[in-house]
Symmetry: C2
Subunit: 578 residues, 2 copies
């Protein structure tokens, strides 16, 4: 090694030792008679005390990469904020490995550089300690995920990333074939089919930290390529799988950020929707949604007639709730296809609201009693033909107020599983659609509904939710060919459709399928949660921007015509679009 120590490890115990450090010049303070240089590497910063003559000779500047030899001594003016703050190096010799031009932004955590500049100079951006911390959290998460799964009998298997394009769901990224011009491979959206094939192959317990790809228009937290902790296991019940997810996430949180997650709550999908107004309930606070249809039955207010009515109580905010706030609440609520919400303030023992005059006093009394309102509470009501829509609207407001009131503490962790999802829903044309994929197994006790009323069937699907964020989803898979056939029929799939959409996979189902299930955990989402950042690009070493473009290497880019010719392709749109 060209160094004896890193820049993060020397302290008062090393005083007197001759050491050699390597790193980047973080700052230079030339005081004339003295010259101090902070030397930085991944592990920390150590102060170099450089004799004037040597400094004059070497003239090191910020971001030069250097080697410094010298003796560890105590500092005159200790810095108790950093581990190496009690010592400095009396430098005897410096070797400059390489010089640096002035960097386009200063290498420090609180940079003012735009994200685009940071992405162009990503190799400089990543020198900032906070970025190294983010990368470390992601690496640790991957490491401990693997450690846990390996220790629990799972085997990591690399499934192919050049696969067949399938005509459904999100758009595939395609890879033209040179050997078969006009044919294409696709990048996988997930290893779903392959992991189920591995179970059919008898692999028993599989996992993979899998590269996944989706050609979608970018949202803030999406990237063209992302990773997934992908897992599948045979001969299991739903609870067996949930135990793996729970154990895995507890282990990752403990090992990566030293947080002990509490036991995971199990919540029915119906409860999540009706009480939290969300399939991703944030359980860090209550403010639960109440069904007050009964209390307001025959209340005289026409807008509430024959509607399902839901309510939340926002505590102690009535007096500060302005007209503007109420308008904003309505804008948010209307995104859920409801007419709007009504605000009722409880002031001096009575409701104050522009709808109060329309509602009979006995109904208002019943409402107040049911909701157990207290002085200065704000009651928000939402009425709709479908109670679920009213709940979803109030669920959004619940999250809004929960955040506003500081009820969503970053270091409070409330994980749960949302279970017993509907297997099907009817789309607007009344056609039955699958909520996940057509291989998801119905709950055994609901199988009889396959013939009676399929929308009543609950499935073995499960989502893992933490503080309002969906961390993973999964399900048990159908292993019985008769049930599979019925599901295909209900979905209106002809044999031809099935062959086209699931082809070779359905063939595999003829050769002995085990009862099995699995899950996928989004690595970036989990890394963001662990790192407490809202920017997905913080947890990716070299991310694309929101336009799926990589500013550093200027990628994607045109290629020579010869490269497309050999693929049997002609670029027809480049002139118009570039």
């Amino acid at each position: 090694m060209l160094r004896t120590h890193t820049c993060g490890e020397l302290n008062e115990k090393n005083v007197g030792q001759e050491v050699t450090l390597c790193g980047w010049v973080n700052t230079v303070r030339n005081l004339g008679s003295l010259c101090f240089v902070d030397l930085r590497d991944k592990y920390g910063i150590t102060q170099l005390n450089i004799p004037t003559q040597l400094f004059e000779e070497k003239r090191v500047k910020p971001e030069y990469c250097i080697q410094a030899k010298g003796k560890v001594v105590l500092r005159d003016q200790p810095n108790y904020n950093i581990p190496t703050g009690l010592i400095e190096i009396e430098v005897e010799d410096i070797k400059i490995y390489s010089v640096s031009e002035t960097t386009p932004f200063e290498i420090k955590d609180d940079t003012t550089a735009s994200e685009d500049t940071r992405l162009v100079y990503r190799y400089l951006d990543l020198r900032r300690p906070v970025m190294q911390k983010y990368l470390k959290i992601r690496s640790d998460l991957n490491r401990y995920a693997r450690e846990y799964l390996n220790d629990h009998g799972f085997q990591e298997i690399d499934t192919p990333t050049m696969i067949k394009s399938t005509p459904e769901g999100a758009r595939d990224y395609l890879i033209p074939s040179r050997i078969y011009p006009g044919s294409f491979y696709a990048l996988p959206q997930s290893p779903q089919v392959y992991k189920q094939l591995l179970m059919i192959a008898g692999t028993d317990r599989y996992f993979q930290l899998a590269h996944c790809y989706r050609d979608e228009d970018q949202r803030a937290d999406r990237q063209p390529e992302f990773m997934q902790i992908d897992c599948e296991l045979s001969f299991v019940t739903r609870e067996d799988v949930l135990e793996v997810i729970e154990g895995l996430l507890k282990y990752i949180f403990k090992k990566t950020i030293n947080v002990t997650l509490p036991d995971f709550y199990r919540m029915d999908y119906d409860v999540a929707i009706s009480r939290y107004g969300s399939d991703k309930p944030d359980m860090r606070f209550d403010m639960l949604i109440e069904d007050v249809t009964k209390e307001l039955e025959g209340c005289g207010f026409q807008a509430y007639e024959n509607k399902s009515i839901r309510a939340i109580v926002v505590p102690n905010v009535a007096s500060e709730t302005t007209r503007k706030q109420m308008d904003n609440d309505n804008i948010l609520a209307k995104k859920f296809r409801v007419f709007g919400v009504s605000h009722l303030k409880w002031e001096n023992g009575a409701f104050v609201s522009n709808i109060v005059k329309n509602i009979k006093p006995e109904n208002l009394d019943a409402l107040a009693k049911r909701l157990n309102v207290k002085e200065n509470d704000l009651v928000i009501l939402c009425a709709n033909e479908k109670g679920d829509q009213a709940s979803l609207a109030l669920g959004a407001l619940r999250n809004y107020y929960g955040n506003k009131l500081g009820l969503c503490k970053k270091d409070d962790y409330k994980p749960l599983f949302v279970i017993n999802w509907p297997l099907f829903e009817r789309n607007e044309e009344g056609q039955i659609e699958s909520l996940s994929n057509p291989f998801t197994r119905p709950n055994d006790e609901d199988l009889h509904y396959l013939d009676e009323d399929p929308t009543k069937i609950k499935s073995t699907s499960y989502d893992t939710v933490l503080n309002g964020v969906e961390l993973s989803s999964g399900a048990l898979r159908i292993y019985d060919s008769e049930i599979q056939k019925k599901v295909f029929e209900l979905l209106g799939l002809s044999d031809e459709d099935i062959e086209k959409r699931f082809g070779f996979f359905v063939k595999a189902l003829k050769y002995g399928v085990p009862p099995e299930g699995g899950f996928g955990i989004g690595v970036e989402r989990l890394a963001m949660t662990l790192a407490m950042t809202d920017n997905v690009r913080d947890v990716i070493a070299f991310p694309k921007n929101l336009k799926a473009f990589e500013p550093m290497s200027q990628c994607p880019s045109p290629v020579p015509t010869a490269d497309t010719d050999i693929l049997g392709l002609k670029v027809v749109a480049s002139e118009e679009n570039e």
Copy 2:
């Protein structure tokens, strides 16, 4: 869990226990009064003893996936060859999870199915225990590689797999961009540029089990996609990197197949070529190449005049060496651009050969003495203007005879590093070319040759070789911009070339580059070595065939025109080529 035990763990200690097993019906032996079924899962096979009536009712057949409940009892006829061979299950109940059609081939290790059939039904092929063993070895190799590197301060970082296409080396697989029609991403041939950027970013010790892609015409041991244990570390000497490789491989061999590798030998490239006739020397046997130019100087044989002459001695095979054998040797030798080889048999104290009459007796004496020949030895001579070509030709024969004589034992492991490679070579037009990449650092002591005679420069490159197989290669990288500039000049690269070929990377070199180096180990090659198989498809779960085609999913395949339209592409070759 739907089982209490796996099919590999029950033995005489479990006698009397009520158990539940799950798995696939491996074999059915219906003896009328008795019915035996071997139940198979990933972990082993357990014999089920099924009462006639239950069997009549369930009628299980091979590859049905079932659950069986019953009691563990001692077998009447023990099988001492398998761990569960002393017991069987007296079955009380059977549940059939799913039936199976008759499989296209029997699920057993020594299948006679063609590889193409096996690939079409890969999920059945993988049920064969030997395939599960291969997959396990690969998984273990990955697991322990990560374990070692994590434990030695390396951090795994996922680098992008949708990157900029670069106009050199092997052909990139391209990914058309939808957002920028006419532009393309490329799949990476390796993370080389990104890992060097990570070192510039101060990441210090990086690794990744990286997906790599090359659009080459397939050779037997190549696949379009493959993986690499990719590693890079800063502030190191060559020896520091070699220690990491050595420690890593020793750990992997020990943990994966319980083999203790000996310490790795360090051999100069020049020695490898001159004494072993190969840059991948197989050190399991000697039969070293000798330079006998001096012994044959002025020997009178015209073909040897002013030539460099090399020799190997193949022990004790003279009498069995036929004319045909000698012809075959010549065919092999001529692949190395030499005229051929001469065979001299040492019989009854004298050389027997058709060239003996052309060579003076004193030269023959000197040769015999120098080579210390013994009765029945075969001496093979090769003469060429360039001694290295003669050595390479004899190196091929050395390997051939080493194998033929059984000197290459599969369980004998002789690892080494080949070091001090030439930095440059001259191509046939006399232009200097890089032997690896233009960022490879020359040895410090050879820097002066940059101005004098660049072809004399030895580089910091290193290959890891095991039993004639190259397992990894790597080098230290240039960190000094002046040296980098000289290397670019020597390679005849204009500023424009540099910008076009290395663009954004060269820009990064301006901001403080650490002395660093790294290596890449081919995962498939290493897995094949550990698994002792010559078929690369054995160590890939779902491989492509030699035509880069995946027979199970029929991939690559045509896609709807709409899918190419949206990419701004037109397929022009499909009609001619399909």
